[in-house]
């Protein structure tokens, strides 16, 4: 590898990382738009804080856990260590690795933040900040890196041939599994489900901002999927990168269409919030293998993702009565599984191995996240008082109204 190749790949990787960092803004806007105005400052604070915690924890221990190099104990639990005080840029004595270690870290750290962002949407409007942030410490410093190691760090999932190009499983299903655990332990928002089985609709307060969030995620996903090729310096790599961009875009478009068409058929209207979830679903669906399908197949994989997310949202909300204000469990979890299982359609991965990957990521995350949350709950509780929840968490947790002149 030449210096220029190293330079190009490093440039490509930090740029991809910057796009993924931008997804933090996307999740923030999406969630701020889909909650009620009395909880908007709170969810913004949650997102700013979780991203920051992810960055600190991954530097302190997460990165090393996930990519321990030769220090690994075995395929299931990696070794310990820290990158905290190390100037990663200095490490690349041998630039044949393909890109700067610091670029690699930066690209990886924004992924763990993405996984954590998924949780914040699901627990919106009813989980206090401090317990949430404590959970974020464990999730980003331990739970995520361990299963990340299984696949991307060279652990057992990688060894058996589980395919997950950019993380339909490692990032999205992981985040959604933790979200499901959290929602089950927390329970629904006050007033959401009546004792008579009735469902109260709680509408998002700012649709254009939620849509902006979806567009930000869409843009950021080019870095998420594109960067996961990890190199662009050869014709093959460049071609792969370009196909990934093409397919990522096509799948998102398919997802939007799947969701709004099914909405139109079933309700006579095109529910924009479903269109938004559809875009995200299309993106999640293609993430496990964005490099192998043709554009047409990518569109279809995304479109099916958009249909799935519609039914999943309704099913969780109306049938299971699992309260997920932004549809995070459906868009990242249900559709994450679809993405993992769809890779054989374009010849990547085998059905059985993919299923093992999905199940193991789900179980690991669901169980460890659930256990962590139960411990935090026992120590300090997770929810505000019902009065504080009714009044909105902006007042009790943040002290700042999101829109003091419009809705107070």
């Amino acid at each position: 590898m030449t210096e220029m190749e190293f330079a190009l790949n490093t440039f490509y990787l930090v740029l991809s990382g910057a796009f993924v960092m931008w997804m933090a803004a996307g999740f923030t806007m999406l969630e701020a738009g889909l909650v009620r105005s009395k909880n908007v400052s709170e969810i913004v604070t949650k997102n700013l804080g979780l991203y920051s915690i992810a960055c600190v924890m991954y530097l302190a221990c997460g990165f090393y856990l996930m990519y321990p190099g030769d220090d690994v104990i075995n395929a299931y639990l990696p070794g310990m260590g820290t990158t905290w005080g190390i100037s990663l840029a200095g490490l690349t004595a041998n630039y044949d690795l393909g890109y700067s270690d610091a670029a690699d870290f930066f690209f990886q750290v924004v992924f763990v933040a993405t996984a954590m962002s998924i949780v914040s949407g699901a627990v919106a409007e009813r989980m206090k900040l401090v317990p949430f942030f404590i959970f974020a410490v464990v999730m980003t410093g331990f739970i995520y890196p361990v299963q990340g190691y299984w696949k991307w760090g060279g652990g057992w999932l990688d060894a058996i041939g589980y395919t997950d190009f950019a993380g339909s499983g490692v990032v999205h299903l992981c985040g959604a599994s933790a979200a499901l655990a959290a929602v089950l332990i927390l329970g629904a928002r006050a007033g959401k489900y009546g004792s008579d089985g009735s469902v109260t609709v709680m509408r998002g307060s700012n649709i254009p901002i939620a849509a902006l969030g979806a567009f930000i995620l869409w843009l950021g996903w080019f870095g998420f999927n594109g960067g996961s090729q990890l190199a662009v310096h050869t014709v093959d790599n460049a071609n792969a990168v370009a196909q990934v961009f093409l397919n990522t875009n096509a799948a998102a478009a398919g997802g939007v269409l799947g969701a709004i068409i099914i909405s139109k058929i079933l309700t006579g209207k095109m529910d924009v919030t479903m269109g938004i979830n559809g875009a995200i679903a299309g993106l999640v669906a293609i993430t496990a293998a964005p490099d192998t399908p043709s554009g047409g197949l990518a569109t279809i994989i995304g479109l099916i993702g958009g249909v799935i997310v519609y039914f999943s949202v309704v099913f969780f909300d109306s049938v299971l009565k699992v309260d997920d204000p932004v549809g995070a469990i459906s868009a990242h979890g249900t559709v994450g599984v679809w993405g993992i299982m769809a890779t054989p359609l374009s010849g990547a991965g085998a059905f059985g191995t993919q299923a093992i990957g999905a199940v193991s990521i789900f179980l690991w995350t669901f169980i460890t996240a659930g256990a962590t949350l139960l411990v935090i709950k026992a120590i300090m509780g997770l929810r505000p008082t019902v009065e504080d929840e009714m009044e909105g968490m902006d007042a009790s947790e943040v002290g700042v109204s999101a829109y003091p002149e419009f809705s107070e």
Binding site: V199, K269, V313
Partner: protein, 118 residues
Amino acid sequence: MKLVYIVVRPSKVEVVKSALAAINIGGATLFDVRGFGASRGHTSSYRGSQYVTDTNPKGMLMVACKDDDVPNIIQAVRDVANTGSIGDGKIFVNELSDVIRIRTGESGEDAIMEKNDD
């Protein structure tokens, strides 16, 4: 004097205002309100769940006037705000004991009459 509350469809607030001006009503105070009445309940859906909205946006005008103006007001409002469909709204007529113009301290009917030097 009377204090008259006029509840109409939001789209009719402008024309009611003009109609009042046309019969020399000197002023009014406007409220954004929601109403429910005979026209109760339409069903919407959000994220696949149905819900019922039983209120509709309405506009309300509060008008202080002389007793004699009341029939004119009722007529003027009905002329422009009556669409014949449920939800056109209602007019509520109350006794008004006194009015004071804060700027001048005038009270009674003087306080709601426009003078030329205004």
